[in-house]
């Protein structure tokens, strides 16, 4: 396609790339544009045929309803507490476990590793009943700690898996040099291995926060009291509470989406960036 003798980067023709990129952007963004537009429409404008693209009298009424006349703000706080708590816990546990798996040999390691992975495989619906009974025995139903712990099921296995491969990719010679210099295992982990695996840590944090923020089924079953209910449940509840008040539902959706989008965009550079390539290829 391009002249091979110049060794210039070959690629798709630019027009195709541009059109493709525009299409991808449109597909990814359109539902959110429609969500945002719907959230500032009045009821009569929502229920018209044909639908109108831009409201003549944009209103914040739906947001007012969501922020001042519903439980959404409380659910928002609950979601923040539970997501931050379980992300932090998963990260700590995963760092140690991954380091153990990546750097040591011990009896039963393959078995234990697959045990961790199988956790990810469990049909969540399948263990709800026994989990509920377990939580009740521990007095953790309808508490923050209950959901934070339960979320280890969905965040920990993948976190361990991701971090193990990151740790493995770090040349063991770096650590051996530190051992010769008299560093302890923990010192090595925190001063050498962790800083080198920043993209992995960021990936785990973003992954754990996003999955717990978005989680639906466990929250539906283990947090039935409005003092601990999370946003996804609030949103589902909202649509029944107001029946089909789509304007309010869309406004609540915007409120729920914003923080996660902000987090993601601020972390995106670290999360997606080619830091891994730099750290592993050297």
């Amino acid at each position: 396609m391009s002249d091979p003798s110049t060794l210039r980067r070959t690629g798709l023709p630019l027009p195709i790339t541009i059109v493709g990129a525009a299409l991808v952007v449109l597909i990814c963004l359109f539902p959110f544009m429609w969500m945002a537009v719907s959230s500032i429409k009045t009821l009569p404008e929502l229920y018209t045929v044909p639908p109108i693209w831009w409201p003549e009298t944009p209103t914040l009424g739906n947001y007012y309803k969501v922020l001042f006349e519903s439980n959404i703000p409380r659910y928002f706080l609950n979601s923040v507490i539970i997501s931050v708590g379980s992300t932090f816990l998963a990260l700590i546990l995963a760092i140690f476990a991954s380091y153990g798996f990546a750097r040591f040999d011990f009896r039963g390691k393959p078995l234990l590793q697959s045990f961790v992975l199988i956790g990810q495989l469990l049909p969540t619906a399948a263990i709800i009943v026994p989990l509920f009974i377990t939580l009740r025995v521990l007095g953790l139903v309808n508490t923050y700690w209950g959901l934070i712990l339960v979320y280890m099921i969905i965040t920990l296995p993948l976190s361990v898996w991701m971090l193990t491969s990151y740790f493995k990719a770090i040349p063991v010679e770096l650590e051996e040099a530190a051992i010769i210099d008299g560093s302890s295992r923990l010192g090595i982990l925190f001063r050498i291995t962790l800083p080198l695996s920043t993209p992995g840590i960021v990936a785990v944090v973003v992954y754990a926060f996003v999955t717990t923020w978005n989680e639906f089924v466990f929250a539906l079953c283990f947090a039935t009291d409005s003092s601990v209910k999370t946003l996804p449940i609030g949103l589902a509840e909202f649509s029944t509470e107001f029946n089909t008040d789509w304007g309010a539902v869309m406004a609540a959706s915007v409120v729920m989406t914003l923080p996660i989008a902000l987090l993601f965009f601020s972390m995106q550079r670290l999360f997606v960036g080619g830091l891994t390539a730099g750290a592993t290829k050297g």
Binding site: L14, T17, L29, L121, P123, T134, F216, M250
Partner: protein, 286 residues
């Protein structure tokens, strides 16, 4: 011997938490599946009851359809998007970020927004499609038994193809430049680069991602539950939702446990076959 125990110490806290949250409930599920409400041993009665229910085979095939259909399009679309986003063009960074949004957004938000867009009377999709003449009259996308599953698959693909794209893109970025340079010296064009460099180099990424997609697919409840709850007429009933319904709507905990055991076994077999097939494959791939 020293290294032996040190490693175990590192791993132990996570293992204890997982054992408490996974091993115990799994064992308890097994126990529930062979007992009745009073806890008396009843053998395979629950399994027989579940297997003879009409919804069970239907849910099984729905699950296969939903998961299989989703994965094929997620991987194809995701890989294509990754290759596209690996090109250099103005604004690439922002496009990459935007691509991730569907994956990041809560499933319940995606579900409600798409449900609103697919609304029969006031939905934007029916409006656009009738307006442009693609369909003669509005379709009840989510109430028509023939369209509801494809629509849910499409929503699920939209939700997860960005994940495939970003993982494959990371793989593409770690391909050493020498490979491209060597290919260019040989006069390779773009499609040859895709076929002989990119795809083989990211093969392992795609394999791992597909395994994750299988597992997530088998676990996915949110989108279907939020939009249709398995309806209309069980057309979108997948096994996880059937288990949930058995347990929490019919309060048949023991039958739900039996179905969970069957589901878990089938899922395990699928994953093992997949891993086995891959363990033998790399020889043929370049």
């Amino acid at each position: 011997m020293d290294r032996n125990s040190t490693g175990l110490v590192f791993v132990l806290p996570a293992l204890i938490v997982l054992a408490m949250l996974i091993a115990y409930p799994v064992a308890y599920t097994g126990l529930l599946s062979v007992t009745d409400r009073q806890g008396a041993f009843v053998g395979l009665t629950n399994f027989k009851a579940v297997l003879s229910a009409r919804a069970t085979p239907q849910a099984f095939w729905n699950t296969i359809w939903f998961v299989g259909g989703s994965i094929v399009f997620q991987v194809l679309l995701g890989t294509a998007t990754a290759i596209l986003l690996n090109q250099s063009f103005f604004g690439r960074g922002i496009v990459r970020s935007i691509t991730l949004i569907p994956w990041v957004v809560p499933g319940i938000v995606a579900a409600t927004t798409w449900a609103w867009m697919f609304h029969t009377e006031f939905g934007i999709i029916n409006y656009m499609m009738t307006g442009s003449g693609i369909i003669p009259e509005p379709i009840g996308w989510l109430t028509n038994g023939n369209t509801v599953m494809p629509v849910l698959i499409a929503i699920n693909v939209w939700k997860l193809f960005p994940f495939v794209a970003i993982m494959v893109l990371a793989g593409l970025q770690s391909i050493p430049n020498d490979l491209y340079e060597a290919a260019r010296v040989d006069g390779a064009n773009f499609w040859q680069e895709v076929r002989f460099i990119m795809i083989p180099q990211v093969r392992s990424v795609i394999v791992a991602v597909t395994l994750l997609l299988v597992i997530w697919g088998l676990n996915s409840i949110t989108i279907i539950y939020a939009i249709t709850r398995g309806g209309p007429a069980n057309r979108t009933l997948i096994t996880p939702i059937q288990i949930f319904r058995l347990a929490f709507e019919s309060t048949q905990f023991n039958q739900a446990a039996a179905l969970s055991v069957i589901f878990f076994a089938v899922a395990l077999v699928i994953v093992i076959i997949y891993i086995r097939a891959l363990a033998s494959a790399p020889g043929e791939a370049k």
